[in-house]
């Protein structure tokens, strides 16, 4: 909608193009042309502000531990470079780890090892048990993984984790292929609150 005093938008820019501008994906000439449009078009400026608000909100959600994520090693590096305080655990197939998160820590990174060579899709199946009572099983489908390092990097939502009582999380990595599921490993995280 055009607001009072606004020049009507001559040609609404596609959201995908606004996104490409924000991420620096446009060639120079296209970038310059889009900037000319943005400076003359209050409507597209508002749409761009919405996109930037979304980008900044996503960053804040990650920093604030409001979402769980499966990420890459460079992402973990970017978290460290941004000043986030991380606690990291490494666990291999059949392994168990005692874990926690302190109030002044921003995230826990679980390095879940497995033999991932030749695997095309990995699902993570997790079940949390509190006081001996199992919660429903949760399946995270088609998560990112690095076959070379043989790791899935899982980040639970830190805000929720800090609020949880002592619990155990059992996790399975499953390779999904044309012939069905093939187990890659089982892992146990025994969490004690600080």
């Amino acid at each position: 909608m055009t607001q009072a005093g606004e020049t009507r938008c001559a040609a609404l820019v596609e959201f995908e193009k606004l996104l490409a501008w924000w991420l620096g994906e446009l060639p120079n000439a296209a970038e310059a042309s889009l900037e000319e449009h943005l400076f003359a078009c209050a409507h597209c400026t508002r749409r761009m502000e919405e996109l930037v608000g979304l980008a900044q909100g996503v960053r804040a959600a990650v920093r604030g531990g409001k979402v769980s994520l499966v990420v890459s090693a460079p992402f973990v590096e970017a978290m460290k470079q941004s000043g986030m305080r991380l606690r990291e655990y490494r666990v291999g197939p059949g392994g168990s780890v005692n874990c926690t998160i302190r109030a002044d820590e921003d995230a826990v990174i679980s390095h879940i090892g497995g033999s991932l060579g030749g695997v095309t899709r990995v699902d993570v199946v997790q079940r949390v048990s509190v006081g001996g009572v199992d919660e429903p099983e949760l399946r995270l489908e088609d998560v990112p993984f690095d076959p070379a390092s043989g790791e899935v990097l899982f980040i639970p939502g830190a805000a929720a984790l800090k609020a949880m009582p002592a619990h155990t999380m059992r996790m399975r990595l499953v390779a999904v292929g044309e012939l069905g599921d093939a187990p890659l490993g089982e892992y146990t995280f025994v969490h004690t609150p600080q």
Partner: protein, 189 residues
Amino acid sequence: MPQDSPFAALDDGALARRVAAAGGSPDSAAETELYRRLAPRVRLYGLRHLRDRHAAADLVQQVLLMTLERLRAGGVREPERIASFVLGACRMTVLEMRRGTRRREALMEAWGDRTEAYEAPEPLVLDPDRLAGCLEALSERERSVVAASFFADKQADQVGAELGLKGGNVRVIRHRALARLRECMGGTP
């Protein structure tokens, strides 16, 4: 801006002409309105090219105060093309800021005590809890791509290299995920 505002009928160019016509007796209401309209555009440019909200705020201040001063002094040749003038000033200033020839302290010394009359609209801030819920509703792959794209503002090819995907696939996943996020957040078409 309310529909009954005295500036409702004026586009940016007409508003700039009005500021310029006032000359040495500044039309503070018109200047304030022009500042209010242009500040979000300059801020976005600054955020995109400087990736720092403080630097972007400095850019808004410097570019728009210089623009108003030039308008008053008759130094803008085509006030009706004020948007192009401001974009040019942004490009020049960002280049200087990157080269380090204009430090923040120098900017503040030049323009820092002259902002009382103008207020830039607050940047859009989304409801963090609602956004977190919308993010959790995405698939794992979508959430990973969105987080990788925006946490450090990475291009599709970089995100693809990190997640074992082709850049084109990242764009498709990103597009779908953002559409779902915007719908979940009640976005603008």
